[in-house]
């Protein structure tokens, strides 16, 4: 036996068939959903090339071919070509901005021939994942080194900017998923936490900015954001600096004065409590900066930076909000429940909720959904495909899909963790983070929990580009995984 033969046999035996099984389940389940979503009363043939369900079979078939081909490409190739692939993809993304025709306001689709279009943004993810894997696998790379992590972040942000340039903000946001991978690889959790904190500030601050505390002329949004900023800052001092004295001191001053201000405003003279809280926050920041300089300890400085951003954030949101596009602002307002507009911006989400809610426990049955088939839910075969699952297969079916996804992601974590080198693990985490992010945003928006960001549900949403993109992403990883035993020989 030659090494080559041994290799292929080993690879075949080492393929993670469980992941492939879950992949096939999702694709088949997805195809049935596309059938339901695209059912055309005038053309009930589900297999006809004229219908989306027929085309989806072709996309799925070609994806399987693509998967098979990918299983033949050795990891060595990616290891060698990672940066080249990345560079080529970035060029393609940049070129797309210039040459892509305007499709519903976005310039992200490249026409190939007369009928087929591809979206390079769907394929760029694997290139970024490869580049990140390659980068972090390099000798001496440390995520804790500012220079190194900056390069990693630059690799992520650059394609995001290009895709935003294509007016596909939704697709660009997907790249934020790579931060989950960075977290796993050792990036400080405070960055992830900061991101979370700012989302909370934004949601609470925007949603309750117009409400007032009972009896006290203070905006609930402003008050809550400032209070959270204090709590988060003090917690960080506790966790990252272990400076119990400072924690106690700051807690007494911050919460004490806030409490006194509240009582005074409620029972003596009503006034805006934030006039007290804001100076206290500034005082706290100045104290932290002082500590940083005195102890020459950078962490105090970083926490001070967080506190500054937190305090300023609320006051910046209004300005920030003004700078959003109209449709994006309205989407956010509707999502936060600030606007009720069932015929306008809320229409999609409202109809999606009706579709899902009307499914009940067991659903209306295959091809019996009315909301989706009669086009009440827009984009029902692409971004809003989950509505069809909810309507036709009910709670059982939709919860089932979510559970299969959970198993899929859980399996990918296991597979990623068993990688013997950093590149494989990093790439694996990139893949699962992207799937998780798509699941989170796509299903969330259909359920009315996250903003409406037009990104597909992997393997379910109709479309060749996204299906090929996800297949590419997944099977490069499965091939890397299959080689894990090879190296030991």
């Amino acid at each position: 036996m030659t090494i080559q033969e041994q290799g292929s046999k080993g690879i075949f035996l080492s393929i993670d068939w469980m992941t492939i099984m879950l992949y096939v389940i999702l694709i088949v389940w997805g195809w049935f959903s596309v059938c339901g979503a695209c059912y055309d009363f005038n053309n009930p043939d589900l297999f006809s090339w004229e219908t989306n369900s027929g085309k989806q079979i072709v996309w799925a078939g070609t994806s399987l071919v693509l998967a098979a081909v990918l299983m033949l490409i050795e990891k060595r190739f990616y290891d060698t070509a990672a940066y080249v692939i990345y560079g080529a993809m970035m060029i393609l993304l940049a070129v797309t901005i210039v040459i892509a025709p305007d499709t519903k306001g976005s310039r992200s689709w490249l026409p190939l021939g007369s009928s087929v279009k591809i979206q390079p943004a769907e394929f760029a993810k694997f290139a970024v994942a490869l580049a990140l894997g390659k980068l972090m696998d390099e000798y001496g790379f440390s995520i804790r080194k500012t220079k190194h992590i900056s390069i990693a972040i630059a690799l992520i942000v650059f394609p995001m900017l290009l895709i935003i340039g294509q007016k596909e903000t939704g697709s660009a946001l997907v790249y934020l998923a790579f931060f989950l991978m960075l977290y796993r690889e050792g990036m400080t959790g405070s960055l992830l936490f900061s991101g979370f904190a700012f989302v909370v500030y934004f949601v609470v601050g925007m949603k309750y900015s117009e409400d007032h505390l009972t009896y006290i002329p203070t905006s609930v949004g402003e008050f809550t954001v400032l209070l959270l900023a204090m709590i988060f800052t003090i917690s960080m001092v506790w966790i990252y600096c272990k400076d119990i004295f400072t924690v106690k001191l700051m807690s007494y001053i911050c919460f004490g004065s806030t409490l006194i201000a509240l009582i005074f405003a409620a029972f003596v003279i009503p006034f805006d409590v934030c006039y007290v809280m804001l100076p206290i926050c500034i005082l706290m920041i100045l104290y932290l900066i002082g500590l940083a300089l005195y102890h020459r300890y950078i962490r105090y400085g970083l926490i001070a930076l967080f506190a500054v951003a937190s305090t300023a954030f609320y006051y910046m949101t209004d300005t920030l909000f003004e700078h959003l596009d109209d449709h994006q602002r309205i989407r956010i307002e509707v999502l936060l429940g600030m606007k009720d507009d069932p015929r306008g911006a809320g229409y999609n989400v409202n109809q999606a909720k009706i579709a899902i809610g009307s499914g009940g426990l067991f659903g209306k049955g295959f091809l019996n959904g009315t909301q989706t088939k009669l086009r009440y839910v827009p984009e029902q075969h692409t971004d809003f495909i989950f509505c069809t699952v909810g309507e036709e297969e009910g709670f059982i079916g939709s919860a089932g899909v979510l559970i299969v996804y959970l198993l899929f992601i859980w399996r990918l974590i296991i597979v990623a963790e068993r990688q013997t080198d950093t590149m494989g693990r990093v790439y694996g985490y990139c893949v699962l983070s992207i799937f998780l992010f798509h699941l989170f945003i796509n299903v969330g928006m259909v359920l009315g929990l996250t903003p409406v960001i037009g990104i597909p549900l992997p393997f379910f949403s109709y479309g060749g580009s996204s299906l090929w993109g996800f297949t590419l992403l997944l099977f490069i990883f499965l091939r890397m995984d299959a080689e894990r035993n090879l190296k030991r020989q």
Binding site: E185, G360, Q371, Y376, F395, S398, L402, R425, L447
Partner: protein, 614 residues
Amino acid sequence: MKSHIYENRKYVLAGIALVIVLCYIARLAFLQLSDGEYKTRADDNAFFNNVIFPARGAIYDRNGELLVFNQPAYDVMVIMREVHNLDTLDFCKTLGITRKQFDERMALIKDRNKNPGYSTYTQQLFIPQISSQEYGVFQEKLFRFHGFYIRERTIRRYATDHCAHILGDVAEVSPAEVENDDYYDPGDYIGKQGVERSYEPELRGVKGVQILLRDARGRIQGHYRNGALDRKPIPGKNLTLSIDAKLQALGERLMEGKMGAIVAIEPKTGEILCMVSAPSYDPHRMEGKQRGAQMMEMQRDPMKPMLNRAISGTYPPGSTFKTSQGLTFLQEGIITSSTAYPCYRGFVTKGMRVGCHGHGSPLPLIPAIATSCNGYFCWGLYHMLNNRKQYKNIQEAMTTWKNYMVSMGFGYKLGVDLPGEARGMIPNADYYDSRLGQWNALGVISIAIGQGEVTLTPLQIANLGATIANRGYYITPHIVKRIEGGHLADSLLVKHKTKVEKKYYDMVAEGMRKAVLGGTCRSANTSMYEVCGKTGTAQNRGKDHSAFMGFAPKDNPKIAVAVYVENGGFGATYGVPIGSLIMEQYINGKLTPASEAKAASFQSRHIDYGTRAR
């Protein structure tokens, strides 16, 4: 490896995935497993119930002559998004509208406040009910007017100029009717008067429905479950009236220029052969779009042409009522066939006087009926009410009398199958107790001659004729003879026996025969068949009402008639000749030339009622 220290972070990532999925499953449970609100809203979105209206039943007369039918009408519909390159000038000219009307109509359709169901994808009503002629012209050019369509509907049409009160009409349901009956939806049609109303459930049939799937743009995409839940409409049943259209036409002719009613009944069956109420109107006035305006006009008319006097008008029956008195006195043993009462130009006792005309005296019953002697019947009632051997007191006597009257179909609705029947008035002991306090026979004596408190509807008078013709019973008078594929209500076929035996009816019939042969109804006499009759001349505030009640032939009677002409004077003036013409027409199927000439002369004899509102 360095990153192994961060390996536990895989649990954080797995935890994030788990939390997301659990949150979403909880949200799914909230949306899908709560109340059916979303289901209802999805159904409201998707299902379009296309109601299919059944054809309303046609109406025929007893001889199969068509009276009421359906005719297609045409609504001009428009689908806004398909309208392009419209030659507005030509379009307006074809439909006979102005450019301004066109613009206004288009603006109104697009106004979502006034037209909430507006969609540019679905048909909107542009002009309702254009005529067949307009349709013909429009149809030819339709191919040039993109986006315009014709929707067929049916409207009720009348094949006769008569029978307006009997047939009634149909119109859009009122909000109250929608509220009271789940069957109706706003915009549906319902019978409003006459047979159209009383036989509404039979005539209308049952609406069908197609459950269609409607997409987000309002376009129809197909049948839900391939039509498994659709219901076909059940067509309305055709009605055959007992009315003889020719007889009805003659009756309406004879009543021209008069107020009053004619009712003819087939005694054996209770079928109403004609029911004329004058003044009447042409049923065509109630067709289609003009109905509202026509109704308004007629409701303002002081002559009240909409009122069906035959069943809704209550009149003093006058002398026609004496027959019922004779029957009662005979059955109660107050009189016998040979009992004779004196009449010296009236009933005179204790300072009381009810006048009468000159005739021989004293008279027994039969000639008393023939000459319509007031005195005889006043004495009869006087003796009945004052008979303390049979009745403890006057109240008991009065109650007995009232029970006889009620058994003959007076004082209560007869139950004719038409809306708006009045019950008339038969006083009872309680009534007089409360109205008069202390009272005696003399105080109420005029009821014996069909005056005073007594009132009857012309239908009740005709029914009295039918009862005498049957010698003691009547079938509930009814106007519908047959329901195609159905059967008449049992209440319409009930045989009501009066409290009086047949032998007494024979005597009264004999009296009525004598009235024709040599009494008040002489002009009704004919050699063709034996007519029995009784005139009535009812006093009232104005000129006397002229009434006639009779039947023919005497044996095996075919028709009983009541004629009532308001302010017509003596019963013999209008009542008898009109009644005899009706009998002749029905029994012979035509009038002799002499009778035809008589009919023509009565048609043109109009009574001046002035302009005072009634």
